[in-house]
């Protein structure tokens, strides 16, 4: 599989270079393998969302390059990549259109891109929602269903675009821990069916180790990989992995690194974001 190979090469992002010159990302290099779940862990406000926005095309980069499957997304010549259906973001607080029903949300991408006629898109959307156990809420508005369901609908909406990579920006941050553990299994289930590259940002180390093939622990602002952990717990996983010995060992191995960065962020008084 060669879909969704993302290479981040020496990327630097400086906010307000003429004025305050805040360095958010500092010479960050990271390669994400096709079909891999790559988890990015760092304290709040460390600059990891900046990195995701650069890949998605919502922010410019200051220097470096981001390449996906051989195509240069952004570089000093073209500091902002063009947003496209090959890289879909699932946002922290969700970005389902509240004025569209869940089904209409899900078919939005293929209809906009002219890939499917509305009727075909509805058939496909229904099938995918059913696959994710969401048939019952097709005709509800997002505001009428639980936040966990909304997040699942949003992932289905993303997958409807047949993306090479899903960019998840702390999608489960606002959920309670019980809902979260259910959502993790649901995400893995969707992943096993669709095998798409997942670039997942979080500040929750357990979540990262449970889901990821690899976990990149980032330094606090400016952000760059501090330690990269290979999670050698075999996929497919379910929640029993959480209590396995290896899981605990991996937490122990990385906890200090994460904790240290969290302290630095705390002392620097970084704002959320």
């Amino acid at each position: 599989m060669t879909r969704g190979h993302i290479v981040i090469e020496d990327v630097v992002k400086v906010y307000d270079p003429q004025g305050a010159a805040v360095m958010a990302v500092d010479h960050c290099t990271l390669a994400i393998e096709p079909g891999e779940i790559c988890m990015i862990v760092g304290p709040s406000g460390c600059g990891k969302t900046t990195l995701l926005n650069a890949v998605a095309g919502f922010h410019e980069i200051t220097s470096g390059r981001i390449i996906m499957d051989g195509e240069v997304l952004c570089s000093p010549e073209k500091p902002r990549s063009t947003p496209g259906p090959d890289r879909i973001v699932v946002f922290q607080n969700g970005a389902l259109f509240p004025w569209k029903t869940n089904l209409d949300n899900v078919i939005f991408g293929p209809v906009m891109q002219g890939k499917l006629a509305r009727k075909e898109a509805i058939d496909k959307g229904r099938a995918m929602l059913a696959d994710a156990g969401l048939s019952g809420v097709e005709h509800n508005y997002p505001g009428e269903v639980s936040s966990g369901m909304r997040r699942r609908v949003e992932i289905v909406r993303a997958l409807m675009n047949d993306p090479k990579a899903l960019l998840l920006d702390e999608p489960y941050r606002a959920l309670d821990s019980l809902t979260k553990s259910v959502m993790h299994e649901a995400l893995l289930e969707i992943y096993y069916k669709n095998k798409v590259t997942i670039f997942f940002i979080t500040h929750d180390l357990e979540e990262a180790i449970f889901l990821g093939h690899r976990v990149a622990i980032m330094t606090t602002r400016p952000c760059k990989p501090k330690k990269i952990l290979n999670v050698d717990i075999p996929h497919p996983r379910d929640y029993s992995a959480l209590t396995s010995k290896r899981f605990r060992e991996l937490i122990e191995e990385t906890n200090d690194a994460v904790h240290e960065e969290a302290w630095k962020a705390f002392q620097a008084g970084e704002k959320e974001g």
């Binding site: 095309g57 259906p85 946002f91 259109f97």
Partner: protein, 288 residues
């Protein structure tokens, strides 16, 4: 229906209105507020305040509800009374619809284009603090007929509120919706039609509801001041505002109250219609 009748809130409302009407009736029939001796010690002070010797404000000066009801049944069969309804509604609706037709695109263009905002907003902000009623003389001079002058003033009443709400609403649409729409391959037109327009709709509804209220306030005053378009319609069909004014001039105090209550009902009906339309246009909001 049975559920509605057993609702205590309904009965509280009924009792509240009934008590109000009874007190009003008693007050109106008493013909005297209090014994004049009671005010004797304050006579000098009250005189300094401009009150006439034996004349203090008292409810007895207001017609009793029963008298109002009598007067109402009398005008109920009078075509000119209904003509007043029609004229006021016509003016409110023409001004209001014009305000929507011009205000919504104007507000959206202010929100979406920096150039449009730079050119249009300063003029808008300079004119906005001028109360619509201050426009009455100028618009009577400017517009060819009284009718267009009144419609213009009602238009102003709703226009500013609608524009401000549309502008604020369009600007407060979450940036994530634009990002998501762009990622999924939307063109600029798609984003306008499928993100900006529905995203602004709730603010359009709110702005219209507030604007509608102002429109009724303004139309009544405009009708009183301008003589209700009496040149074209004669004393008939001057609108509800002019109906009140005529009743005052003619000394029919019961009819003044009839006119007041009629305007209350008219305003209530139009905001209910609007609320109903708003609910229909934004079905996702009832979920909250």
């Amino acid at each position: 229906m049975k559920k509605m009748l057993s609702n205590p809130a309904l009965w509280r409302g009924v009792v509240s209105i009934a008590v109000f009407l009874v007190l009003w009736e008693i007050g109106a029939r008493s013909k005297q507020w209090m014994a004049p001796e009671f005010f004797a010690p304050f006579k000098e002070f009250l005189g300094a305040m401009g009150f006439k010797k034996d004349y203090l404000p008292w409810i007895g000066a207001v017609p009793a509800p029963s008298a109002v009801l009598d007067s109402w049944t009398a005008v109920f069969v009078d075509a000119s009374y209904w003509q007043s309804w029609y004229m006021s509604f016509f003016r409110v609706m023409s001004g209001f619809i014009a305000a929507m037709l011009i205000g919504i695109p104007f507000g959206l263009s202010l929100a979406m284009s920096r150039v449009a905002h730079g050119i249009g907003f300063p003029v808008f902000e300079v004119l906005r603090p001028i109360p619509p009623l201050a426009w009455v003389p100028a618009s009577i001079i400017f517009w060819p007929t009284q009718e267009t002058a009144i419609a213009f003033i009602t238009f102003l009443g709703a226009f500013y509120t609608i524009v401000i709400n549309v502008l604020g609403g369009a600007r407060s649409i979450d940036v994530r919706y634009f990002q998501a729409a762009r990622s999924m391959g939307s063109s600029r037109w798609d984003i306008f039609r499928r993100v900006i327009l529905p995203g602004t709709l709730p603010s359009i509804v709110v702005g219209s509801a507030v604007g509608m209220g102002i429109t009724w306030e303004v139309v009544v005053a405009a009708e009183m001041i301008s003589g209700g378009g009496s040149q074209i319609g004669g004393t008939r069909g001057g609108g509800l505002g002019f109906f009140i004014w005529l009743s005052y001039v003619g000394g029919s105090y019961e009819q003044i109250v009839v006119g007041m209550i009629s305007i209350g009902i008219a305003g209530f009906v139009s905001s209910e219609l609007l609320r109903w339309g708003g609910r229909y246009a934004t079905p996702w909001l009832k979920a909250r």
